[in-house]
């Protein structure tokens, strides 16, 4: 059976899985952005925390994703939740790092000027720091998204759904076409997400 025949005959389940995949990634990214940016901002105020937090994120990155899924499995149980939790952890590093770098990279004179004009710290953060650091943060989000779209495929193994199911079923059935469907769809998703965020990035830069 050819690849295209498979795509045509199973388009419904492919679409369904793709939607699941998007959903897991989207939920994870949303949570990770809130957490990551928050954490990133926090460590610009408590400098002593910056080292440990960034190191923790670094360590997370070295843990194989399959192992991470396994570790969180007893906590969140089979399925969706473990998948999302894992993806959140993996997307934290790029987002936290870039938030930190983005804010630290702002010209001190700008913040000086804002302070000099009598702006309160919270206003400075909201009106000056975050908008200026936003392109860098967005770049971090982009890295995170591309990465976790791929990791989400592995999360199918613990029942999180998504396009990884095609890949795992492809292994089980020794079926190249099934694997291809999974791989190609994940890859397309990643490229699309990347392109989309790049455009958003371009718009904010302007």
């Amino acid at each position: 059976m050819s690849f295209w025949f498979l795509v045509v005959s199973r388009w419904q389940s492919i679409l369904e899985s793709t939607w699941e995949h998007i959903l897991i990634v989207a939920v994870a990214v949303c949570v990770a952005v809130v957490l990551g940016v928050g954490l990133g901002v926090m460590i610009t105020y408590w400098r002593s925390l910056a080292g440990p937090v960034l190191y923790f994120c670094q360590v997370v990155m070295t843990i194989p994703s399959l192992a991470m899924l396994g570790l969180l499995l007893p906590v969140f149980g089979i399925g969706y939740k473990t998948g999302v939790a894992t993806l959140i952890l993996y997307s934290l590093l790029p987002i936290v790092r870039n938030t930190y770098a983005g804010i630290e990279g702002i010209e001190p004179a700008i913040i000086e000027a804002a302070k000099g004009m009598g702006m309160r710290e919270i206003t400075i953060l909201r009106r000056i720091k975050l908008p200026l650091a936003w392109p860098v943060i967005l770049a971090g989000i982009r890295t995170a998204v591309v990465m976790i779209v791929g990791i989400a495929a592995i999360a199918s193994y613990i029942g999180a759904g998504g396009l990884g199911e095609f890949i795992f079923r492809g292994i089980s059935q020794w079926n190249l076409q099934l694997v291809l469907v999974g791989a190609v769809c994940v890859s397309i998703l990643a490229v699309l997400a990347d392109g989309l965020l790049k455009r958003v990035e371009g718009r904010t830069r302007r």
């Binding site: 059976m1 498979l6 089979i78």
Partner: protein, 321 residues
């Protein structure tokens, strides 16, 4: 830097030496050998079976033999590994379509090691009370499904890539269980569920079409994740009927620790307990048993005269001497 270059050259050479045999090794794929000429007994299994108390370790103990090597891989890959001759024997599921398609045979579990997993339609009591004819309508299906038949149906989906619904319809027509055209629904709505793998999809499709033929409005809710999910859907009333395996119900849903290895006994005890505890009715069960199985290539098995796991144990143990 100059030192680095010379080092680099050496690494390059070494890796070339690695790469060449690798590439030539890759292109081969299927090992060619005469039937029965097995010099090393390699066994393929998935991760779970390799450590479960009712899995490989106890099986080996019961039959009294050892494999030379156990290779662990993803469930389902074992069939292909066996077909390509990369292993001599493998574990699988008894009704998998690939057993027929790949020219494999199930070795008979002559010491009744494996627990039984006969499927039967499970209905909520209240539905059966409302439509007592269901017992007869669905009860007809089970006895017609023996292991051979189920392997064939599975093979049509898994190997020939047919649609489960089409496979089910074809079989039902052949058996004369349904007419060409289903009548317009005159009776009530019945929601049919199933787990997500091939066999369950076929069983679900069969059920739907039989019900439709009998004038019910059969709603398709097949392909729901794993057994926990489907079972929950049944008890909560989201679905009305699905096919469950006796062994699964006994070990998972009813929470017993000791697996049962006799079909009749297992069915009766499950039926009794499920009705009492959960108000679920088990209809007539099918004779096919989707349990673990030990498989070999048909050619190898015939050449070595192996039919049962005991035969296998004997051949291996004799080969050692």
């Amino acid at each position: 830097m100059r030192r680095l270059i010379s080092k680099y050259g050496i690494i390059w050479l070494i890796s070339l030496l690695f790469l060449l045999p690798l590439l030539s090794g890759c292109s081969g794929g299927q090992a060619q050998r005469a039937p029965g000429a097995i010099d090393k007994w390699v066994f393929a299994t998935d991760h779970e079976f390799s450590v479960r108390p009712d899995g490989l370790p106890e099986l080996l103990k019961l039959y009294g033999f050892e494999f030379d090597e156990v290779r662990i891989m993803d469930l389902g890959v074992t069939y292909g590994a066996l077909r390509d001759g990369q292993v001599a024997a493998a574990m699988g599921f008894a009704t998998d379509g690939r057993i027929a398609a790949f020219d494999l045979v199930n070795l008979e579990d002559d010491k009744n090691f494996f627990p039984v997993y006969n499927p039967a339609p499970v209905v909520r009591k209240e539905i059966l009370d409302r439509y007592p004819e269901l017992e007869e309508i669905l009860g007809r299906i089970g006895p017609l499904l023996d292991t051979e038949t189920m392997i064939n149906l599975n093979a049509q989906v898994d190997v020939e890539n047919k649609d489960p619904k089409e496979v089910a319809r074809q079989w039902l027509l052949e058996q004369g269980l349904i007419k060409e055209e289903a009548p317009a629904p005159t009776k009530g709505k019945i929601v049919v569920g199933s787990k997500e793998f091939t066999e369950q999809l076929i069983l679900g499709a069969i059920t739907i079409q039989v019900l439709a033929d009998a004038g019910f409005e059969a709603v398709d809710s097949t392909g729901l994740a794993g057994s926990e999910v489907v079972r929950k859907a049944l008890t909560s009333g989201e679905i009305d009927v699905y096919w469950e395996y006796t062994g699964t119900a006994w070990l998972v849903h009813l929470g017993h620790d000791e697996p049962l290895t006799d079909s009749e006994e297992c069915y009766n005890r499950v039926k009794e307990e499920d009705l009492a505890r959960y108000n679920l009715v088990w209809l007539t069960y099918a004779p096919f048993d989707n349990t673990y199985t030990i498989m070999m290539r048909k050619a190898d098995a015939e050449a070595l005269g192996i039919k049962t796991i005991s035969d296998l144990a004997r051949v291996i143990n004799e080969g050692r001497k």
